[in-house]
């Protein structure tokens, strides 16, 4: 095959995006775990770990810019690189949202939970699944895999509405809960956003493979 080093760099780029995706997936998982298990240390770990993800984002972006400048990529190669830039931007935002969740863990540290966390971990599970599916589709270059993200995103949205209603009622019943309820509401919102970013990753992957757009965030 011609352009051996270029092909190797493209392969490496995809591996790096996947590696970053795995780091982000873990950050989301640990952030929710820290909240559920009231583990401040774990929350701090997520917050500290974000610097690594940020550094990795810059590294991948630099690699993309170098490839664009030096290789003048065309067609699918061009889409692989521009997609990588888009995906890492989404992943980086997802990691930031994980940090926001971890910060809530620290903010409500020492307070008893106003209600057992059921729907929020469920949202996390689905958002995490969506992240994994979108990254799997990216690695396997399978545009069909991302179609299921539409349904999962609806599920997350429905759970968010449910959490919203539930916490609103709690706040109305007992104004003392407002501070923590507002924080938990934010967590639900962060997870809903994470799911949206996962659909973005799916859309980018679809474009990369097919050269056409699809809308997954309906």
């Amino acid at each position: 095959m011609a352009r051996k080093s270029y092909c190797e760099q493209l392969t490496k780029l995809k591996e790096d995006v996947l590696k970053m995706g795995t780091m982000v997936e873990e950050a989301i998982c640990l952030a929710v775990k820290s909240l559920k298990e009231r583990d401040d240390e774990l929350a701090q770990q997520v917050i500290d770990g974000d610097d690594l993800i940020d550094d990795f984002t810059v590294k991948i972006e630099d690699c993309c810019i170098t490839l664009l400048a030096l290789q003048q990529p065309m067609a699918r190669d061009l889409r692989v690189i521009t997609t990588a830039i888009k995906i890492i931007t989404d992943l980086e935002r997802m990691a930031d949202l994980a940090v926001d969740i971890a910060k809530v863990t620290l903010q409500i540290s020492g307070q008893p939970l106003i209600k057992p966390l059921i729907d929020i971990p469920r949202m996390m599970e689905i958002a995490q699944k969506m992240t994994r599916i979108s990254l799997d589709a990216y690695v396997k270059e399978d545009p069909e895999m991302v179609q299921c993200l539409i349904d999962y995103d609806h599920e997350v949205d429905a759970l968010y509405d449910q959490v919203f209603r539930e916490l609103s009622l709690l706040m109305v019943d007992d104004p003392h809960t407002i501070k923590q309820a507002a924080q938990l509401l934010l967590v639900a919102r962060f997870l809903e956003r994470i799911a949206d970013h996962a659909t973005n990753v799916g859309e980018s992957t679809y474009y990369m493979v097919k050269g056409e757009r699809t809308e997954l965030n309906l």
């Binding site: 352009r3 092909c7 003048q72 065309m74 067609a75 190669d77 061009l78």
Partner: protein, 266 residues
């Protein structure tokens, strides 16, 4: 006549008027078939790029548009090439008049060993312009069109061979424009030029397409991507894909095109 290309993605688009319509064009050098069943429409007042690996037939295809291949012994051409609806391969066609309408610029600048003025005046004079004032006017007009006037206006009597390579190429473009063609064929017009001269010729092509139909053969795919509206990809004498440049370079329909433009070829 409407310009339409049947795109590989399955529908037709009307894209303005056709300048050329090429139907079932086959070309042989002796027993060697160089072009195979080419069907291609070239849009008026647009830039069309022909790309493909060496030996794919793109220069030959370009040369069929003003019958330059007629000069090669043993060449045989089947099919038709319509220019504004008229077949240029009919026996009654005046080839000199055809080449006046369809000018050509070559890979290496090839000015005549004469003055700048005489290089430009040669064509119009050949076609019967005798009046000195009129010739001077044509020379200025052509040099201005080719974005060379300001650089040479004080030295029109200087030998064209003293110009830089980039200036010589713009001189050749001016020379082609001097006989007021409709179409400009360019066979790798920038391959012998440095990046600055290349950029000037590319700017020139951009400016010229308002008045001319331009067909460019290029090995430089970035150049094709930069300057053309439509791109045709040829391989082994066949037209593999023809589409809007934007589409062809971001999402080609055919694997052969993809392999070629991403450099995976061979």
């Amino acid at each position: 006549m409407k310009f339409s290309i049947t795109l590989d993605r399955g529908y037709k688009e009307d894209l303005g008027d056709n300048k050329f319509e090429i139907h079932k064009l086959n070309l042989y050098y002796g027993s060697n078939q160089v072009l195979k069943d080419i069907d291609l429409n070239i849009a008026e007042h647009k830039v069309t790029a022909l790309i493909g690996p060496s030996g794919c037939g793109k220069s030959t295809l370009l040369r069929t548009l003003n019958r330059m291949n007629d000069l090669i012994p043993g060449v045989r051409i089947e099919g038709s090439v319509l220019l504004d609806g008229e077949d240029i391969y009919q026996p009654e066609v005046d080839v000199v008049a055809l080449r006046k309408r369809v000018g050509m610029v070559f890979q290496r600048p090839n000015p005549f060993p004469k003055s700048i003025f005489e290089n430009i005046a040669y064509g119009p004079r050949h076609h019967g312009v005798r009046d000195t004032a009129e010739l001077a006017e044509i020379v200025e007009w052509s040099l201005r069109k080719a974005a060379l006037w300001d650089e040479v206006k004080d030295n029109l009597r200087k030998s064209a061979l003293q110009l830089s390579g980039g200036q010589q190429q713009r001189l050749c473009i001016a020379r082609a424009l001097a006989v007021k063609p409709d179409v400009l064929l360019m066979d790798e017009p920038c391959s012998a030029l440095d990046p600055i001269s290349t950029a000037r010729v590319e700017d020139l092509i951009y400016d010229l397409k308002e008045d001319y139909t331009i067909v460019v053969v290029t090995h430089n795919m970035q150049q094709a991507a930069r300057i053309s509206e439509y791109t045709a990809f040829l391989l082994n004498g066949s037209l593999i894909e023809y589409d809007e440049t934007n589409r062809l370079f971001t999402n080609p329909s055919r694997k052969e095109t993809e392999d070629y433009i991403t450099g995976r070829f061979g």
